[in-house]
């Protein structure tokens, strides 16, 4: 399983699908948590080559999609201010807030810049000492080490015109919230490979045991995903529920411990709102008090912005796996990648965008 041809070999994929069909006797619902995996599953039709009695449910694994509208509104409020140089990852610029988005703020004269790394924002702060440079720090556990280090470096280098608007979210509490939600149908999880490359997978053992669910750490290639599904089905058929690592070329049980130490130094866990889902207890990170100076919410006094979300968009149900994108009445009509109602259509890795781009208008 080392060479490119093996990861994406069509014949091997069909063989693996046939093996899954051979072992699969029951009806199983399996959720992939990562947006990159959702994209790969739909793009490669993996959900269509596995047996019909396996349903792939798409989880809340896109950080752009789950960033709550309140954070977008806070970003818009800050970015519109004079003397602010607002930095964000590119895919956040089109995410709609209550009345606008970052592109419109930029079009209206706001200094909104796309950066690839939070360190680019720190550099801009060093380069423009008379301006306030603010970075929109979103993302799962994969992104948190970078954002934590940006804050640490700003402090070490006495850069005081830099701050971060933090909206970090964590995968394990989301899995727990899905398992506890009324009407939950998920019976196994494919855990996000890159999140686990940072955090390891030791924290999943408790979830697998407590909720009696198989959790398989999975990569992004078609064969990685099929192998993840196969391993999940083997466990489901045997009535087992443990954690398996199907992505050992990238993921270890312990993860990147240097990165984890920096996260622990800079961030502490907090309750966090997820777009369309609501507040999940202890599902996010915020800056520790000793880094409060770098908290953009405090610096710009936007803590109290708390808007209402529109009822027209059913992204919350899509993110919980309760609704498939094409089952939303607005899908492909009022809501398209050019005119998105919700973040799951904005982000290229959102489930709605994946369904739209690959023509899944009728059949799941």
């Amino acid at each position: 399983m080392k060479h490119l041809s093996e990861y994406r070999d069509g014949a091997k994929a069909l063989k693996l699908a046939a093996e899954i069909a051979r072992i699969c006797k029951g009806n199983w619902a399996i959720m992939e948590v990562c947006g990159g995996q959702t994209h790969s599953i739909i793009r490669n039709g993996i959900d269509q080559i596995v047996p019909q009695n396996i349903e792939m449910i798409h989880g809340p694994g896109c950080p752009v999609c789950v960033t709550p509208i309140s954070v977008i509104d806070k970003a818009l409020e800050i970015a519109a201010r004079r003397n602010v140089l607002f930095c964000s990852f590119g895919d956040m610029l089109r995410v709609p807030g209550t009345t606008s988005d970052l592109y419109r703020i930029k079009g209206g004269g706001g200094d909104v810049r796309i950066v690839y790394s939070p360190l680019d924002a720190v550099k801009l702060a060093r380069k423009h000492p008379t301006r306030e440079v603010v970075f929109l720090a979103i993302g799962f556990e994969t992104t948190a080490p970078a954002n934590a280090m940006a804050v640490k470096i700003a402090q070490q280098q006495d850069i005081h015109n830099f701050s971060v608007l933090v909206s970090h979210v964590l995968v394990p509490p989301a899995i727990e919230a899905i398992m506890n939600s009324p009407g939950n149908r998920v019976q196994a999880f494919l855990a996000a490979g890159h999140v686990c490359s940072v955090m390891g997978f030791h924290q999943y053992h408790r979830l697998a045991s407590q909720y009696s669910i198989p959790i398989v750490v999975t990569g992004f290639e078609p064969l990685d995903l099929l192998d993840g599904i196969r391993r999940a089905v083997v466990q489901l058929e045997a009535g087992q529920s443990h954690v398996e690592n199907a992505f050992p070329r990238v993921v270890t049980e312990a993860g990147n411990e240097v990165a984890q130490a920096t996260i622990d130094e800079v961030f502490e866990t907090t309750d966090r709102a997820w777009r369309g889902i609501g507040v999940i207890p202890q599902s996010g990170w915020r800056l520790k008090p000793k880094y409060a100076e770098f908290d953009a919410e405090r610096r710009f006094a936007v803590e109290d912005i708390a808007p209402e979300e529109s009822n027209a968009c059913r992204a919350g149900e899509v993110l919980r796996g309760a609704l498939k994108p094409h089952q939303c009445e607005a899908f492909g009509k009022q809501c398209t990648p050019r005119t998105p109602l919700g973040a799951t259509m904005v982000s290229s890795e959102g489930a709605c965008a994946a369904y739209y781009n690959y023509g899944r208008f009728v059949h799941p």
């Binding site: 080392k2 490119l4 796309i114 690839y116 490359s197 070329r249 990238v250 990147n256």
Partner: protein, 89 residues
């Protein structure tokens, strides 16, 4: 910004005491922070997410992932961000 993209380390240096490196992503070279992988050397392949190397991988896995992302159309978005950020900063 979801993706973690593999690339090859071309050089290693320090910037204000922060360990950095130049990493080649299939032709696009970008500055990457190496603070989370203190053991890496020039020529190694690493997975990079938002400007930080987070894991070392072997060359074959790196090439496989790069080609797969390119085929999925995911790499264009990531590399576009690389180019845009280079112009902006």
């Amino acid at each position: 910004m979801c993706l973690a993209v593999p690339g090859q380390i071309e050089s290693l240096y320090a910037d204000n005491d922060t360990p950095m490196g130049k990493v080649n992503f299939g032709g696009v070279v970008k500055e990457v922070c190496m603070v989370y992988l203190p053991e890496v050397q020039i020529g190694d392949y690493v997975i990079v997410h938002v400007g930080f190397a987070i894991h070392q991988i072997d060359e074959e896995s790196a090439q496989a992932t790069l080609e797969s992302f390119a085929e999925l159309g995911l790499l264009d978005d990531e590399l576009e961000d690389l180019r845009v950020s280079g112009e902006d900063s």
